[in-house]
């Protein structure tokens, strides 16, 4: 079977399921990529998600790296096209007809109903990353520090906090073999 096509298929499915944005589709992405297709292990998924956090733009651009891991640059392209084309086409088409529903009371029901669903999916996305990323006291401290920084200090650039977490890990964990793949 052609792996490139299955990368395209998996990310196209995730694209149309990504109601509520990237964090909402994170648990399903991990389930498909790690558990169903075994393209990555838990640690690699956490690492690649981390890479997505330190670059600008949408975090879910990390799907490119997942595709690269499966079949190289063509896989990267397949993951990108798969993840962005279907949802992009839907948005493009829907925004042209959306105004026809101006004033429909169901539009607000849709928003109000989807809002808590999306928050639930984002919470699940956090849990799915935390299950691998939180391992030992230092990771708990880093997570709480970044949480406090983002939540309480509004003006701070979150990427700097994430990079700071990386530096703390580098300084305090590099002798311990943390995150190393099993031999």
């Amino acid at each position: 079977m052609n792996e490139n096509l299955s990368v395209l298929g998996v990310f196209s499915l995730l694209s149309i399921l990504a109601v509520g944005g990237g964090a909402a589709v994170l648990p399903e992405t991990k389930a498909l990529v790690v558990e169903t297709h075994h393209w990555l292990n838990d640690d690699q998924f956490r690492d690649i998600y981390g890479l997505g956090q330190v670059v600008p733009g949408p975090n879910m651009l990390m799907v490119i790296v997942i595709g690269y891991h499966v079949t190289g640059f063509l896989g990267a392209l397949m993951a990108f096209v798969g993840f962005f084309l279907p949802a992009g086409a839907i948005s493009w088409a829907a925004s042209r007809v959306w105004d026809h529903f101006e004033g429909s009371p169901w539009r607000r029901s849709l928003q109000q109903g989807l809002a808590p669903l999306v928050v639930g999916l984002m919470a699940s996305g956090t849990i799915s990353i935390a299950r691998t990323a939180i391992d030992g006291r230092l990771t708990i401290i880093i997570a709480f520090a970044v949480f406090a920084g983002v939540y309480c200090v509004k003006k701070i650039n979150p990427a700097l906090l994430v990079l700071g977490g990386g530096l703390v890990g580098l300084a305090l964990l590099s002798g311990t073999g943390a995150g190393m793949p099993p031999p």
Partner: protein, 216 residues
Amino acid sequence: MSPSLPPAPGAAHAADAPVAEAPAAYAVPQDVRLWDIFVTFLFIGAISFGGGVVAYLRASLVLKKGWLDEEHFLSALEIAQALPGLNATNMSIIVGDRLRGIAGAIVAFTGMTLPGGSMVLALGVAYAANAHNPYVNAALVGVGAAAVGMLSAVTLQIGHKQLGQMLNVAIIAATVLMVSFLHISLVWVLLTVGPVAVFLFRPRKDDAGTGEGETS
């Protein structure tokens, strides 16, 4: 439509016949260049970090460029959030389309994803080549832990105003239970919780005064 024609100042509204379905009340700027759209979204794509892209979009599109007013920005955001896909890329497509049709949508999307996409690919190639480097792995453990802190903060920022209402809390709890603990596929979660949630918030006759904006 012939995009090559120079815009005639003052005559923009005379030629309304060939315009497919631009809503009449919508004061879309008529003469925005594709290059300008590309550069604007490239800039947003290069400086927006950590899920805060909506703030950057608003600052750039509404305040700096004046391409949208507040009301139409929120309406575009409403569409971007209700549909599948990322808010950032959906917004680029919707706004690009309103400014210059499909070509505008394509250049806006490309600008939005080019900086982060090329950088993450470069990092990914470097990561694949250094998978057994203990320094790289130690740093990524720290980055992963920091990502958990950031994700929980963003989730709480978006969700905190819903936590006061039991119905919202119940929907959030049901979703988390199904996805994280029962491991039910997202397709089924969306197809079951979605319609139920929308039905629970269905329009009511006495619904007049409860409106608060949901857009964060």
